[in-house]
Amino acid sequence: MQKVYSDATSALAGLVKDGMTIMCGGFGLCGIPEALIEALKESGAKNLTVVSNNAGVDGIGLGRLLETKQIAKMISSYVGENKLFAQQYLSGELQLEFNPQGTLAERIRAGGAGIPAFFTKTGVGTLIAEGKEVRAFDGEEYVMERGIVADISLVHAWKGDTEGNLIYRKTARNFNPMMATAGKVTIVEVENLVEPGQLDPDAIITPGVFVQRIVHVPNATKHIEQRTTRKRETA
């Protein structure tokens, strides 16, 4: 049982098929599995449903898969930072399912946790609740949302051991841990690959059981979407 693969392309080899549902970690361009997305592009798989909070920007992240029109449908909470997305959506080439961000996160968590449905107040009385069961508990109304799973989850982590135990860095954690639990196959790119015993077992966020394949990406490209700074006070 060797989980470590030599590169992103071999980590995806033999797994990706047209029409699959793929979960893709990250928030904006932070913590996205960029090497795995590139390998997914290379795979040429078409007609994909992609579950991801955002859809990248032009030329970066999921934006790369829009270039090749590999995505048929996005399940997201906030999109449209890229022209290509808007173009494909408005032309009807790309389907879009909006989920409130917290509902999306919880649906993924539920999918990985064997929970087929749960109730939330988010979206009650809005378009989001249309066609869904709304029920009152203790006098308050809630809408029923379904758990979701993916054929493949693509995840980015800061450190991982060869067992698949993972640790994330700062806000690059975001959707990655839940997606790691909700993929029938979960493939992870790690910036630092270590031997078992080198991670603090109390600090591991994703236990190895959720990870089927790992690839070491030592020099991950990282992008900043909104560079905001303050001036250094002069002494």
Binding site: G28, T171, A172
Partner: protein, 222 residues
């Protein structure tokens, strides 16, 4: 003579209390962090998965792994903790955040809020807004009192009922506009009350620019 953006943010900051955990939306709400009274401890939550958000980094110290929900580079504090977006929204949905301050396109007198889509226009999505307004204990909207189009026409934003698709039904507790401050009893009868006027703004000005019905409950004469 209406309030400036900074004055609106300062007014919103009066809703902060010592020990509060607060989520600030983008735009004017972000400015509220500049008006936290000295000595008051307020922790800022960022819904992508962070509690204890610090200021923007110094130039050259931006970290791509450290951004807020507006995707802006930020910094951490000694009190900071990180968690997944599922845990973050569990925190929000579970009512653990005291106050959310956010912008709006329309607010209705019953507390309905619309701030995520205009039918017929490209919609970017609701992000975490629906979760925040449904889950946070107190929701304060900070917005211009009316929308001014490029052609000079004015559209009212404080309405009897929202005409845009809702972000949340009966979710707003308070509206701070450039002209006035209103409270809404969202859990009760949905009554809206005018409680403050910006300096130089008259009750008549407010009435002329507001479709929503409201009760006048000013602490002192305008």
């Amino acid at each position: 003579m209406a309030w400036t953006r900074d004055q609106m943010a300062a007014r919103a900051a009066q809703e902060l209390r010592d020990g509060f955990y607060v989520n600030l939306g983008i735009g004017i709400p972000t400015l509220v962090s500049n008006f936290i009274p000295p000595g008051m401890k307020v922790s800022l939550q960022s819904e992508n998965g962070m509690l204890g958000m610090g200021p923007f980094p110094y130039e050259g110290e931006e970290d791509p792994d450290l951004i807020n929900a507006g995707k802006q580079t930020i910094t951490e504090l000694p009190t900071t903790s990180y968690f997944s977006s599922a845990d973050s929204f569990a925190m929000i949905r579970g009512g653990h955040i005291d106050l959310s301050i956010l912008g709006a396109m329309q607010v209705a007198e019953n507390g309905d809020l619309a701030n995520w889509m205009i039918p017929g226009k490209m919609v970017k999505g609701m992000g975490g807004a629906m979760d925040l307004v449904a889950g946070v204990k107190k929701v304060v909207v900070v917005m211009d009192h009316v929308a001014k189009a490029k052609d000079g026409t004015i559209e009212k934003k404080l309405l009897r009922r929202c005409t845009l698709p809702l972000t949340g039904a009966r979710v707003v507790d308070m509206v701070i506009s450039d002209m006035a401050v209103f409270t809404i009893d969202k859990h009760g009868l949905g009554d809206m009350k005018l409680i403050e006027l910006a300096p130089g703004v008259t009750l008549e000005d407010v009435r002329a620019n507001t479709e929503a019905h409201f009760e006048v409950a000013l602490a002192k004469a305008a």
